[in-house]
Symmetry: none
């Protein structure tokens, strides 16, 4: 090979890295192995990414980009909040299985080894979602689709917490097992039930006050 790495080759390298990091974590993953699996020399990897950590971050960013673009189309829809919530839950359930490596990458940064990136990465990753969710809730509040006695940012936080745990539960080994213990061994075959139950959980959280008012 002599020509500059093609877009596809770079894709392949990142995918190989993601697979390795997702499985082994930043520390146990072996740069030489990644290079071999990607069909390149370590030299290339270092020329392009400088060091292991930077390469890891490149893999992570790619993972997040994919996740983000998957979510974007759902978030950008013009539906009412609960319809959107349902779409999002469905999307999360689907892509968590399909892109489990990406989610494992995301999970990886939350643990010890990557501590020093915590602040930067959080800002980079969560700001968009956070804002989107908050605005979504605020709008729903203005529209009267949602109770008005809440802090929209905190409710966005709780909502994202639930979706985050759902991601992990469909992608990461430990959380998968945990979900089975809570919901039953066959939970992965009961996707519709999971969706409808989570919707119930959310629906009331979002709308309680409304009915309360009507009730009075």
């Amino acid at each position: 090979m002599l020509r500059k790495l093609t877009e596809e080759k770079i894709e392949e390298i990142l995918e190989t890295g993601i697979a390795e990091f997702a499985e082994k974590g930043l520390d146990r993953a072996n740069v030489n192995v990644i290079a071999k699996n990607a069909g390149i020399s370590v030299g290339v990897l270092y020329k392009y990414y400088g060091d292991k950590e930077t390469f890891f971050l490149a893999c992570l960013r790619k993972s997040l980009n994919v996740l983000e673009s998957v979510l974007k189309e759902v978030v950008d829809s013009e539906d009412k909040i609960l319809v959107r919530a349902e779409k999002m839950i469905r999307a999360v359930q689907a892509y968590s299985r399909k892109y489990s490596n990406y989610i494992n990458m995301y999970n990886e940064i939350t643990s010890g080894g990557s501590k020093k990136f915590a602040e930067v990465l959080a800002k980079e990753i969560e700001t968009v979602t956070s804002k989107a969710y908050s605005e979504l809730i605020e709008k729903a509040m203005r529209d009267g689709d949602i109770r008005s006695d809440i802090n929209p940012r905190m409710f966005a936080f709780f909502f994202d917490n639930l979706l985050t745990m759902m991601q992990f539960s469909y992608s990461c080994d430990y959380y998968k097992e945990r979900m089975k213990i809570f919901c039953g061994e066959d939970v992965e075959n009961r996707d519709e039930e999971m969706i409808s139950q989570l919707l119930k959980f959310l629906e009331s959280a979002f709308t309680f006050n409304q009915t309360e008012v009507i009730h009075k």
Copy 2:
């Protein structure tokens, strides 16, 4: 026989290990450093625990025991579900700060490196909580304190998801930053607001149906 170390010494060794693992993660933590900090020889550490991984698991179990015993008193109370929920949220908020090391240990097992323990550990760790929460919810359903059209195990799951994320958010660097982005830089000084908002979120989730019925 291996009985020379006192109970207290073992405590100290495990605490030292927990501090190191919580800060650095399983891979970056250094067994020799842990031994030195604990005031013992590596030899002892290996006699007792066989290898690094096993020692890590011992530290993890200790962490979980502490967390469990902290939660137990709350779970075992005889209050109504929302009162209990409030107690639990308060407990989580308090101990997440105090015992952040333990929670970081818990977080550590969920990421890549520890994959092979996933199943065993999940069973060992989550079963108790899962059962407690489910029963709690079932009882509340029977007592009419909670809507009856839900799957109690799944609601227990969602509830635990929220508490788990809360733990992380008060203990682990990345999640801490994430919480600030969602809820504001000063969120750590607004504990009461966080509690009341989460209660609102839960309260309606748990009771929606009830009001619905009354409403009709």
Copy 3:
């Protein structure tokens, strides 16, 4: 044919190499960096010079050529020996600062790494100077300008040793510091004193016997 590079380009390449080698030494210097700084591709560098070592030698030879041509005009003068010595000391002092890179190159070959060139290079480099100095001294002996009970080759050797150390002392970091320790921190501002003192040192060495004779 390999004639595409202009003379000037070759000059530039060698100068870049000399700068890099003088600063970092043969081993730590990086061929790729040199090529980049010289505005050529490594390929060209390898086409022209074969390998790093050969390129280093080319840089070294250029350095020595410059030094030699600088010294030549002084050596070739027709003055009496002490006048010539003074001219040489002045020349050395001046060009050691100006061409410090070249002298660092010379210094570099005297240490471990370049052992295998030792013999060839010494012959190539020192023969001219050695002969020039010896003849200079012999002539002075015949002319009665210098004591006659000495071995002119050895005196030439001592003389060159002093000049060599003077070169290093004005060019190479370590020797610069050493000179300050011996002669004072401000020695680099006392050029004239250095010259006159060294002349005194030499003058007597060269002429002692003469005065001795007269004295008797």
Copy 4:
């Protein structure tokens, strides 16, 4: 092996390092090879010395200690200056052959790779010699054994320059070849001539003024 390294073992390690560094230089020397040759594991080497550079400095310091102790007895003698000079020249000639590795180590620090230690090392190494020589010359001036119109520190500098070059000339490959070119292929068999010639060179340098005075 399990007991702490004995004094002798440390000696052996340093000697092995010195041999390797003297031959190959700091960069080309291979830590793994040194460890193997010294009969230890790399781990020990790194436990004791931290990194390659620090180990190199330890080897260097050992070299210098040996050289210093060899010179000390001569410098400390109570003879007149020229007698002492002769003793020193003889000492240098003898130990330069015997301890050529140590001198090659000294030579090594003067070149590129070790640039960053230049200042510290020069202070550490040269200060003692510098002071000793200067005082020696000042005393000789006061005693009337030496001409009085000189700067003793500069003369000490020239004197040390001559001895330094003599060391290199009997120890380091390049300088050895150079000496042969200047003084003849058989120079290494004409030690007495070298000594007497260098003494003549120095003697007059030191005493010229005296005869001058008498002469008038």
